[in-house]
C-alpha cells in the first residue's frame, strides 16, 4: 500500500508540475469558457423565447450540462492518453524501469501506483471542468443531484481512459506509439455502440451495447446512477490495470 502511494505520489507530482499538464489544463479551460458560456447564453435565450406556462421548461442538466460533459468526454478521449503516455513507456526508454523492477516492490504495486498517479492528475482536470456548472449555481438555482451523478460518470469514464492509457504505455517504449494506442483503444470502446446498431444478431447487439462505454456514460449524464454501469466501468478499470500488471510482470520473464 505504501509503495503504491509512493509511486502514485511521484507520478502525480511529476505530471502535475510538468509544463504539458499546465498547458493542457489552460487550453481546456479556454475551450470550456468559450463553449460553456455560449451554451448557457443560448439556453437563457431559448427559455425566454419559449412561453410555455404550466409545461416543462427545458432543464439546465439536459441542455447546458449535457453538452459540457459530452465535450469533457470527447476531450478526455484525446487528452488522457497524452497524459498517461509517458508513465511506463518513458521509464522503459530512459532505463528508469530498471529501478522499479529491481526495487522490492511487486508488479501490482507498480501498475496500481501508475494508475492512481495519473488518475489523480486527471481528476484535477475533472475538478477544473466542474467549476463551470458549479459557477452557474451562483446565478441560478438547479438540482445538484443529477449533476453529481453526471460527474460520477465523468470520473468513472476518466478512470477507464486512464487505465487504458497506462496499459497502452506499458506495451511500448515509444511515447508516440503509446499515445496512439491509447487513443485507438478509447475510440474503440466508444464506437462499440455503433457496432451494436449495425449488428443483426440479437445476442451480439446486446453484448455490444453492454460493452459500449457510451451507453453507460449517457445514463449518468441523464442523472441516473445504474449499478450495472458502475460495475462495468469499475471492471473496465480493473481489467486494464490487471493487464498492465501482467505486462510489467512479463518483462521479467522475457
Amino acid at each position: 500500500m505504501k509503495n503504491i502511494l509512493t509511486i502514485a505520489g511521484k507520478d502525480f507530482k511529476n505530471l502535475v508540475t510538468s509544463p504539458m499538464f499546465c498547458f493542457i489544463a489552460a487550453l481546456c479551460s479556454v475551450l470550456w469558457s468559450f463553449t460553456f458560456l455560449r451554451s448557457l447564453i443560448m439556453f437563457a435565450e431559448n427559455t425566454q423565447a419559449m412561453f410555455n406556462p404550466g409545461g416543462q421548461t427545458p432543464s439546465l442538466q439536459m441542455t447546458v450540462f449535457l453538452t459540457h460533459i459530452s465535450q469533457i468526454n470527447l476531450l478526455f478521449i484525446f487528452i488522457v492518453p497524452a497524459l498517461t503516455m509517458r508513465l511506463i513507456a518513458e521509464e522503459k526508454k530512459l532505463r528508469t524501469y530498471d529501478l522499479l523492477l529491481t526495487a522490492p516492490i511487486t508488479a501490482t504495486e507498480i501498475a496500481l501506483g501508475k494508475f492512481f498517479g495519473a488518475f489523480g492528475a486527471v481528476l484535477l482536470l475533472v475538478l477544473l471542468s466542474a467549476l463551470y456548472p458549479l459557477g452557474t449555481r451562483l446565478i441560478t438555482t438547479f438540482s445538484m443531484a443529477p449533476l453529481f451523478a453526471a460527474y460520477l460518470g465523468v470520473v468513472l469514464v476518466a478512470g477507464t481512459y486512464v487505465a487504458i492509457g497506462v496499459f497502452a504505455s506499458s506495451l511500448t517504449q515509444s511515447v508516440v506509439l503509446s499515445v496512439v494506442m491509447g487513443l485507438i483503444f478509447n475510440l474503440f470502446l466508444w464506437f462499440l455502440s455503433q457496432g451494436a446498431e449495425s449488428s443483426t444478431g440479437l445476442y451480439m447487439t446486446s453484448i455490444l451495447e453492454h460493452l459500449s462505454i457510451g451507453d453507460h456514460f449517457m445514463s449518468y449524464i441523464r442523472g441516473s446512477i445504474r449499478i450495472k454501469s458502475l460495475v462495468f466501468m469499475l471492471s473496465c478499470m480493473g481489467l486494464f490495470v490487471f493487464l498492465t500488471q501482467r505486462v510489467v510482470e512479463s518483462s521479467r520473464w522475457r
Binding site: 509503495n3 509512493t6 511521484k10 511529476n14 528508469t96
Partner: protein
C-alpha cells in the same frame, strides 16, 4: 552470501549465459571481467531479479530469488549500465523516492538520504535537477540510488564507463570507500579497474566462466610470465650477456634501444636484475615489467583471441 548455480539464459537461439556457477562471500569485492557481450550484464540482471534466467538458481543471504524475490531485492542495490535517474527530479527528491520504494522507514528517511549524499559527495548538488548534472554526477546519483537503502550487496554494472579519467578515479575511490561495508559485485572490461578495487575476479567470455582467481593470481597472470624491458644509457651487448647469467633468467636479448629479458617471473629475479644493471654501471633509465592486457590474458586462457562483439581493451 550469493550463490549462483547452473545459471543459464538464452535469447532465442543465442545462449548469452551458459551454466554459471559461483559463490560470493560476505564482504568480498568481486570483479566480473569480460569483453562486451560476454554476458556480464545479463548475469547481473538475473541476480538482481530484473530478468529471469532460462534455468538455474540464485540465492542471496539464504533467500531463493524465485521464492522470495522481494526479500532478495531488499538486500541488493543495483546500478545498471545507464544510471536509472529521472531527469526532471532534483537529487534529493529522487533519492527520497528511491529510499521509499526500497523500504526505508519514514523515520530513517532523512538520515539515509543525508548519509548517502555525504558518501557519494553529492551534498553540493542536492537541490539541482538531475537533467542538468554532468555525466559523472549522474553516475554518482545512480550509485547513490543503489546505496540509499544501505543494502548488504551492491551490484555495479560498468560503473566507470563513459566517464572522464578524473571521474573514473573518483568513482574508483568511492567504490574503495564502500569496501568492507557492502559485498560488491562489479563488472568491467577494463583490467586496471579490477586491480584497483577487487579482491577476486571472475573472467567470463561467451557466457562461460573461463577463470576465477584472486587478485594476486590475476596480477601474476598479468605480469606475463616475467617479461622485462630495460633501457640503459650505455647500451652494450655485455649487459645483456651478464643478465643472461643470472639465475632465473631464461633469455636476454638486445632489441633496439631496449634489452628484453624473459624470467621465471619471481620477484627475486627482478631484484637481482635491477641490482646487476646498476652494478654494471650501465646507467639504468627504465625498467618495466611488461603487463598483459585483457586480450593477452584471454589468449593465454583460451588459446584464442577474443571473440564476440567489438572489443575495447584499455592497455
Amino acid at each position: 552470501m550469493i550463490q549462483v548455480k547452473d545459471l543459464s539464459k538464452s535469447y532465442g537461439d543465442r545462449q548469452a549465459v551458459k551454466k554459471l556457477n559461483f559463490t560470493v562471500n560476505k564482504g568480498e569485492v568481486i570483479g566480473f571481467l569480460g569483453p562486451n557481450g560476454a554476458g556480464k550484464s545479463t548475469t547481473m540482471k538475473m541476480i538482481t531479479g530484473y530478468m529471469a534466467p532460462t534455468s538455474g538458481q540464485v540465492s542471496v543471504s539464504g533467500f531463493d530469488l524465485f521464492e522470495d524475490p522481494i526479500e532478495v531485492k531488499k538486500r541488493i542495490g543495483y546500478l545498471p549500465e545507464t544510471p536509472p535517474v529521472y531527469l526532471d527530479m532534483t537529487v534529493t527528491s529522487y533519492l527520497r523516492f528511491c529510499a521509499k520504494i526500497k523500504g526505508v522507514t519514514q523515520e530513517g528517511l532523512d538520515g539515509a538520504i543525508q548519509n548517502t549524499l555525504n558518501k557519494t559527495g553529492l551534498d553540493g548538488v542536492k537541490g539541482r535537477l538531475i537533467g542538468n548534472l554532468s555525466k559523472g554526477y549522474r553516475q554518482r546519483v545512480g550509485l547513490a540510488q543503489a546505496l540509499v537503502s544501505d543494502p548488504e550487496i551492491l551490484i555495479l554494472d560498468e560503473p566507470t564507463v563513459g566517464l572522464d579519467p578524473k571521474q573514473v578515479a573518483e568513482m574508483r575511490n568511492l567504490i574503495k570507500d564502500l569496501k568492507g561495508q557492502h559485498t560488491i559485485i562489479l563488472s568491467t572490461h577494463i583490467l586496471p579497474e579490477v586491480q584497483a578495487s577487487c579482491d577476486r575476479v571472475i573472467i567470463i567470455n561467451e557466457g562461460e566462466i573461463i577463470a576465477q582467481d584472486d587478485i594476486r593470481g590475476l596480477s601474476n597472470r598479468m605480469s606475463g610470465g616475467g617479461h622485462l624491458k630495460i633501457k640503459v644509457r650505455r647500451l652494450s651487448s655485455q649487459v645483456a650477456e651478464k643478465l643472461r647469467e643470472l639465475p632465473g633468467v631464461k633469455e636476454s636479448l638486445t632489441t633496439g634501444n631496449y634489452i628484453e629479458v624473459k624470467t621465471d617471473g619471481s620477484e627475486e629475479v627482478i631484484e637481482n636484475i635491477s641490482s646487476q644493471v646498476v652494478g654494471l654501471n650501465a646507467g639504468l633509465l627504465e625498467l618495466q615489467v611488461s603487463t598483459l592486457s585483457l586480450e593477452d590474458i584471454f589468449i593465454q586462457l583460451t588459446g584464442a583471441p577474443l571473440t564476440g562483439h567489438s572489443v575495447e581493451v584499455q592497455k
